[in-house]
Symmetry: C2
């Protein structure tokens, strides 16, 4: 199962099997039951995790008490409050499993030690972080200039599994629209 993590590393850096096994010792397997929280606002454990199996959503709670989903993650993606992780501040996000989910978690302190021992690993995370930045830039641009129906179409096209495994209500929040609107968008797309 942890093969998935090794494969993810190999996509961006080179890493021997032996080194991987050593790194893996600092990653803690954990299961998150459906509808339970992996992270909640105010928590201070600066942990990030790699998803081996399952689905997860990350969201903020607005002042008005609205859940604002900002990430939908499936297998082979990382989750965590990057803001809190980088700034070493308490978490602002909530992260909830949408299915029974298996993850490999690592905390920031261990990670920094691993950076010293395996500089490639720091490279891996820097690339991951850069990609996250670029992805956010593109989402921002799309949110300002691309209509919701098209954003939904592209999301599903790039990641069909999200359409099948994530409840509509959370996809709507991720796209920044109401569930009613997304329901109508789906109806409209189905007709064509």
């Amino acid at each position: 199962m942890s093969r998935l993590l090794y494969q993810s590393f190999l996509q961006h850096i080179s890493l021997s099997e032996e080194d991987f096994q050593h790194i893996l010792r600092h990653f803690h397997p954990r299961t998150i039951k459906k509808k339970t929280l992996f992270l909640r606002e105010g928590m201070t454990t600066t942990t990030i995790a790699f998803i081996l199996k399952g689905t997860v959503r990350a969201y903020y709670l607005s002042d008005a008490g609205i859940e604002q989903v900002n990430q939908l993650a499936l297998e082979q993606h990382w989750i965590g409050d990057l803001y809190a992780f980088l700034k070493s501040e308490p978490a602002r996000q909530y992260i909830e499993a949408l299915e029974d989910t298996e993850i490999l978690a690592v905390n920031g302190h261990d990670l920094e030690q691993l950076y010293d021992a395996y500089p490639q690993l720091e490279r891996y995370f820097r690339i991951l972080f850069q990609n996250a930045y670029i992805h956010t830039q593109q989402r921002l641009n799309a949110s300002l200039h691309v209509p919701a129906i098209e954003r939904y179409r592209q999301l599903i096209e790039r990641n069909p599994a999200i359409g099948l495994r994530v409840p509509l209500i959370h996809i709507a929040s991720y796209l920044g629209i109401t569930p009613e609107s997304l329901s109508r968008i789906r109806k409209q797309l189905a007709q064509v």
Copy 2:
């Protein structure tokens, strides 16, 4: 004038006057006349620059030929196509001076050499980059959940100079609304 750059460094790292002077040699002063481009799509010089004086906007050109402003920068901010810079790809952005602007430019190659000599400098840029990411996250969230009038109010509150020195048409594009809408928003805010 280059004092501004030194001050910016000191906000995040410690750096001796002597080291700064050495670093400064790799930064090239340049003036960009109002309404001329510092960067245009397809250019390959992976350069980023620090603004000493003036105003600048960065934008993408959509398929439909619409200019989509994604950054408005005044003194003491960095400009450049971060995406192209990080990926070493040709630029996708345009960057234009809105006033006669004085910058200090550094190219990626020199910067990497400076990283080796002054590790603090790499730290400075990593922090800068992280902040850019966080800022983009917040803008994304706001674009999805905060109405345009409120986004404008907050922008002006945080940076009053933008309201005075940047033409309405570019602020509107930055906020993702039409100039007509922003004009009405201004009228509405003025009445209160």
